[in-house]
Amino acid sequence: MALLELKNVNVRYIMKDKKVHACQHVSLEIEEQDSIGIVGESGSGKSTLASAVLRLLPHRITQVDGEILYNGKDLLKLTKDEMDALRWTDLSIVFQKSMSALSPVHKVGAQMEDVYRVHFPNADKNEIKQRVYDLFKVVNLSDRVYELYPHELSGGMMQRVSIALSLLHNPRLLVLDEATTALDVVTQSQILREIMSLEQNLNVTRIMITHDVSVVASTCKKIAVMYAGRLMESGETKDVLVNPQHPYTQGLLKSFPSFKGAKNDLRGIPGSLPDLSQDIPGCVFAPRCPFATEKCRTVEPELKTINEKGNWKVACHKVGGE
């Protein structure tokens, strides 16, 4: 059984004068010990999806439907207390804006201690400290960070603190929402390596949200490509990136200049993301798609499985034959 299974998840932001369909009909399976990278342009609904899984969206202005099965339980149907019990021990997350991820007027250690006590209220102070020190070692931070305030750390250090924090209770599912995007190459690859080695030791499943395909290529087993709130293509990295099926994935990969080899012509995808508050008939990518046909503009393509293993799925009329 998949660890996390999304079935037809829709997320809508309800505003006074309009509704934004940030995610539509997203279905995705994540196995235990998987690492999946979700890529897509800015505004394509990646963060929204992650927040929906963790039920972190402000409920007054959002509307989530579909099923989010975690170990077979629908997270959307859990009571608040049941959900709270799962948080951080099972599901944890690291955000991009790590500088503001902790309260500026409390010490880092104290906050971590507090988070630790959420699930182990009677934990001993020294025990917690030891645990935090261990984690600091993992993310290559020195022990003194425990006694510092967030503003006394650099961006990179805070990012590591966030990661350490997310690992506090050995979560089974770890979501990294652009957690390394702001870091420079060297630091980014340093941290990613650390996380990957942790994963093997601790049995963590990772969802990684980014718009840098190359990062996914080097660190994730699977990839899911999102566009305008919809899943375009998902499958194993080595399949999808080597032989992309969806025109959007193809276009995306062509936009990256390569580091090795000949300097190929770079080509972008003309046009821009559609307005998500409008209903779009047919395929959302059709207006920018070079191969779009009349059908594409009227009928919305289903997500179709295209390999035997059953884990490579594409939502395009062009793919998988009529």
Partner: protein
């Protein structure tokens, strides 16, 4: 830290000096002559006026007077009132108590009440209670204190006769000890209520909006994601962060404690600094005016430094150098 305080105090001193100099000159440039006012309009004796002017040093140029004044201040002497020939320090000292009893109590009450309601309203953001308190706070914020005071007297003293109209003690009763204290408290009810009603909205708004502001910060999402109870997030993290703006404005209002309540003191015949100043204006009692001004400026300066230090304790991002 010590160095910082020293530096702040020094620059504060400079500003106070400048401010007092400005005030000193301004008062003396204004038309009107204190000695003539003392001498009366009817039949002033010119020789006597001259003698008095000499006595108080008013025949000297303003810079000279200022230097003399500073010399005396350095010796801890703020001069003597032209009118009563009493030491200005003593005059001010007598008024500080009642002023503080009124304004400090009022400020502390308004801060407490305003902040508590503000926090509660922010938690219940959008609720009926929130909407109700918000509208009420607008109205009281817009109400001039002196007018509200008049209305209070009209309703609670003149009509209902629940409280005395004015003053600080019941002069007939001659209370001692606790009874005296209780009597002062009774007299304080109306003026303090007036001040609290007009000041609370200010703190209310600040508390409410800063709580809302903090609740939208990213770190709150982090804590929510860890499964921490909302009440704990609120009590431990939101409050500490949200209290910062309140501390700032509290500092400002503490600073204006001594001067802020002229109007209320007038309405309720409260024997405070504001009135001392007002009556000193009409009598052109320069030393008293300048003295009040100096004391107020120094108090403001100290209050601001204190707030800065307090701020440093609450907010580690502030570091002094």
């Amino acid at each position: 830290m010590k160095r910082y305080i020293g530096k702040r105090a020094l620059s504060g001193l400079l500003v106070v000096l400048l401010s007092v100099c400005f005030n000193f000159t301004l008062i003396r440039l204004a038309p009107g002559d204190p000695i003539r006012i003392m001498a009366g309009t009817d039949n002033p004796n010119e020789e006597m006026i001259e003698a008095l002017q000499q006595k108080y040093g008013l025949d000297k140029s303003i810079p000279e007077q200022f230097v003399m004044f500073l010399g005396n201040v350095a010796k801890g002497d703020l001069g003597y009132s032209y009118i009563s020939d009493e030491s200005v320090i003593k005059l001010i000292g007598e008024k500080i108590g009642p002023t503080l009893a009124l304004s400090l109590t009022a400020v502390l009450l308004s801060v407490t009440i305003g902040t508590l309601i503000g926090i509660y309203a922010a938690r219940k953001n959008g609720s009926k209670f929130d909407q109700f308190v918000c509208s009420i706070s607008y109205v009281f914020d817009a109400t001039p204190g002196f007018w509200l005071g008049l209305m209070m007297i009209l309703i609670f003293a003149s009509t209902l006769k629940w409280f005395p109209t004015s003053g600080m003690v019941n002069l007939r009763a001659n209370y001692k000890g606790f009874a005296y204290f209780a009597d002062v408290c009774r007299h304080l009810v109306l003026p303090i209520t007036t001040m609290v009603l007009t000041q609370t909205p200010y703190y209310f708004r600040i508390a409410r909006s800063s709580v809302l502001q903090v609740m939208s910060e990213d770190f709150i999402t982090t804590f929510k994601a860890t499964g921490m109870k909302e009440s704990r997030i609120f009590n431990k993290y939101v409050l500490r962060n949200a209290i910062l703006p309140t501390v700032t404005v509290l500092g400002m209002s503490l600073a204006f404690l001594l001067s802020g309540s002229v109007l209320i003191e007038t309405v309720f015949a409260w024997p405070g600094m504001g009135r001392l100043m007002f009556s000193s204006i009409s009598k052109r009692d320069y030393p008293v005016l300048t003295g009040i001004y100096l004391v107020t400026s120094v108090v403001i300066c100290i209050a601001m430094i204190l707030v800065d230090i307090l701020y440093g304790f609450i907010d580690p991002r502030i570091r002094y150098d």
